[in-house]
């Protein structure tokens, strides 16, 4: 029994899962209606569904961020990329109500498929830029992506003209507001991306390659890995994932806001990755953990709203969570804690 418990608690998903479970349990206690699900208008309604829907964009960004962090990098430009992708999509779709033969139809500026592909291509291009700066030029990841974080926000504002662009094209709203089999469509997008990554990482050697780059880039190169190519690809994927998140967000709010879309999202994504048990020092990573991390952050936010605490406290709670998690991840802290617990119990014995 004890051995089984020990092995469970050592599983890398144990702590993220426990945190989420505790949060959900606390919710159920403080808010009796929390777990209630209703079937209305052909899909499920409820707090949990809401959390899933809202966590989807963050989970997408966190998935991309996980791979970047696994290679010992960091991408702080994802928030700006979210804003750029949203702006491109909203600009290309635009949309207006046209009366054709007495029937009101919504017309988009470009075909929606083309707009989505273009937005994702631009996002991937942003990732490519980051990746080239990191892998080819050899800049530190934080500074390489800082460039795009600063300039990218400006580009997004340039695209939107500093305004909020509203989209008037109903089919586009499906991405962020639609339902499939009774569940939000965004959840399926996030799940699909996770599934694809999971297969890539476990069924091919790519996961191992990424880990080895994170553990020791020089050794990975000597071992014959195309270290730079893989690093570039990881950043491209991170940009792409941020682009998908940007589409979901802009579809959800039916507009694109160059000034505020994806603001501080990079921090939430890094937090989600850290909460999921991926160390910022690179190497071992957990995709599922990052999804848990995103769910934890969203549940925390929802909890704070639902139990009537002013939402302003959200940031203080988040800060406290980050402090606790990073201390628990620190070997020095655990050693200090152990010394504190063990020494009095051992008495004078050596």
């Amino acid at each position: 029994m004890e051995a089984a418990l020990g092995s469970i608690s050592r599983h890398r998903l144990f702590w993220p899962f426990l945190t989420l479970a505790l949060l959900l349990a606390a919710n159920a206690i403080f808010n009796p209606g929390f777990w209630q699900l209703q079937w209305r208008d052909g899909h499920l309604y409820g707090n949990v569904i809401d959390i899933l829907n809202r966590a989807a964009p963050l989970a997408l960004v966190a998935l991309g961020m996980t791979l970047v962090i696994a290679t010992r990098g960091i991408d702080i430009s994802v928030g700006a990329v979210v804003a750029i992708a949203a702006a491109v999509a909203a600009l290309m779709i635009g949309g207006e109500l046209v009366v054709k033969n007495g029937v009101q139809t919504q017309v988009s500026r470009f075909p929606m498929g083309l707009a989505i592909v273009a937005a994702l291509a631009v996002a991937a291009l942003c990732g490519l830029w980051n990746g080239l700066l990191v892998a080819k030029v050899g800049m530190q990841p934080i500074i390489a992506t800082l460039i795009l974080m600063v300039a990218g926000r400006g580009v997004a504002q340039l695209l939107t003209g500093g305004q909020i662009i509203t989209v008037y094209y109903a089919p586009y709203f499906f991405l962020g507001n639609g339902f499939l089999f009774g569940l939000p469509f965004a959840v399926f997008i996030a799940a699909a991306v996770w599934g694809l990554l999971h297969l890539l990482m476990t069924r091919t050697a790519l996961g191992l390659f990424i880990q080895s780059i994170g553990i020791n880039p020089a050794a990975a190169r000597v071992a014959g890995l195309h270290e730079r190519l893989i690093t570039v690809c990881v950043y491209v994927f991170c940009g792409f994932a941020a682009g998908v998140a940007g589409l979901v967000i802009s579809s959800n709010v039916k507009s694109a806001d160059g000034n505020n879309a994806g603001m501080l999202m990079e921090l939430d994504a890094i937090l989600a990755v850290t909460l999921g048990g991926t160390a910022l020092t690179g190497g071992r990573f957990s995709l599922a953990g990052s999804v848990f991390g995103a769910l934890i952050i969203q549940t925390l936010t929802s909890t704070i709203y639902s139990i009537g605490v002013p939402p302003e406290i959200n940031m203080v709670v988040k800060a406290a969570v980050v402090f606790v998690v990073m201390l628990l991840q620190s070997a020095e802290f655990r050693a200090a804690l152990r010394a504190l617990v063990v020494r009095p119990a051992a008495g004078g014995a050596p």
């Binding site: 030029v137 990218g152 402090f323």
Partner: protein
């Protein structure tokens, strides 16, 4: 001709960029070339300069401090709350907020040093915490009507020989800069910071007080942020949780453009002044032009960052 010490090349590059931008502005726009326009660069960016000095030390030691913007916001908020709602005098409030900022920096430095945590994530948490604390005080902006604060905010000190004047904030900024240069170039603390940034393990082996210095670096940055917050309070005459959002990025950009290598160990505090002035002059140019929108500032700063980082890489590659 004596060859220029390669250490000074990035700094000279920064000064050259500033001179070129200033020269371009003077030729292109009438009224640009005046003492007041240049002094305004210092007045409008006094807080950025102060934060930049603290950030320079952090980056020289090989770390990073993302909390500076939110510590500024917290300082304005606490000052406004104490002065407006609790009726403290400026002489009581200012030392207290300086102490809060310093303690905040010291705590983060201690966590980073004692538990070997990444500066990035510790100061990120510090950023959340300080912003959150602002909102705990109030979610609205508190304007300051206190007589001392408004008097200091409006005070102008004439600069002899130019007919122009500067604010108290700008004087504080210049003094901080002078102290920063002195700390970096003359004291044991400064030399240890350079040594840690160059190679921490070697610094430990040399017997330098690495743990103490690491904590002190973040403490100093915290103090600078609080001081910048005080100057920012004078500048805005209000406390608000959304003050100085993203200031940490501007500060990092100013330090990098000022020629300090992000890998640590190389750079000058004086370079940061020119980094700040370049950021300021870009904004002034865009304001003078009138036809360009404000977001061009961000794009140009991004482009400048890119160019300077490329130059840094080339510089590092040649040094090796």
């Amino acid at each position: 001709m004596r060859r220029i010490d390669p250490r000074f090349v990035p700094l000279l590059g920064t000064i050259a960029v500033f001179a070129l931008t200033a020269g371009y502005g003077s030729v292109a726009y009438t009224g640009f070339f005046s003492a007041q326009v240049f002094l305004n660069l210092l007045i409008d960016n006094a807080f950025l300069c102060i934060v930049g000095v603290g950030m320079t030390f952090v980056i020289l030691s090989g770390g990073i401090d993302l909390s500076v913007g939110s510590v500024i916001a917290l300082t304005t908020m606490v000052s406004a709350e104490l002065v407006e709602h609790r009726h403290w005098s400026a002489a009581q409030a200012i030392p207290l907020v300086l102490a809060i900022g310093t303690a905040f920096g010291a705590l983060m430095g201690w966590l980073i040093q004692r538990f070997r945590l990444q500066p990035f994530i510790v100061t990120l948490a510090g950023m959340f915490l300080a912003r959150g604390l602002c909102y705990l005080i109030s979610i609205d902006s508190i304007s300051i009507t206190d007589a001392t604060y408004t008097a200091i905010a409006q005070a102008r000190v004439p600069v002899p020989g130019t007919g122009a004047s500067i604010t108290v904030g700008a004087i504080v900024a210049l003094s901080t800069l002078a102290v920063g240069i002195w700390l970096a170039q003359v004291t044991e603390f400064g030399r240890t910071v350079y040594a840690i940034g160059g190679n921490e393990a070697s610094a430990v082996l040399m017997g330098l007080p690495v743990p103490r210095t690491t904590v002190l670096v973040y403490t100093f940055s915290g103090f600078c942020s609080a001081l910048a917050g005080v100057v920012f309070t004078f500048y805005m005459l209000s406390g608000y949780g959304l003050h100085a959002v993203g200031m940490e990025l501007d500060a990092i950009a100013a330090v990098v453009i000022g020629g300090t290598l992000l890998s640590g160990g190389v750079g000058f505090v004086a370079g940061t002044l020119f980094g700040v002035l370049i950021l300021g002059i870009i904004q002034t140019l865009i304001a003078f032009d009138g036809s360009l929108s404000s977001w061009w500032t961000r794009i140009v700063i991004g482009a400048l960052l890119f160019v300077f980082c490329l130059l840094q890489r080339a510089f590092e590659a040649r040094r090796r």
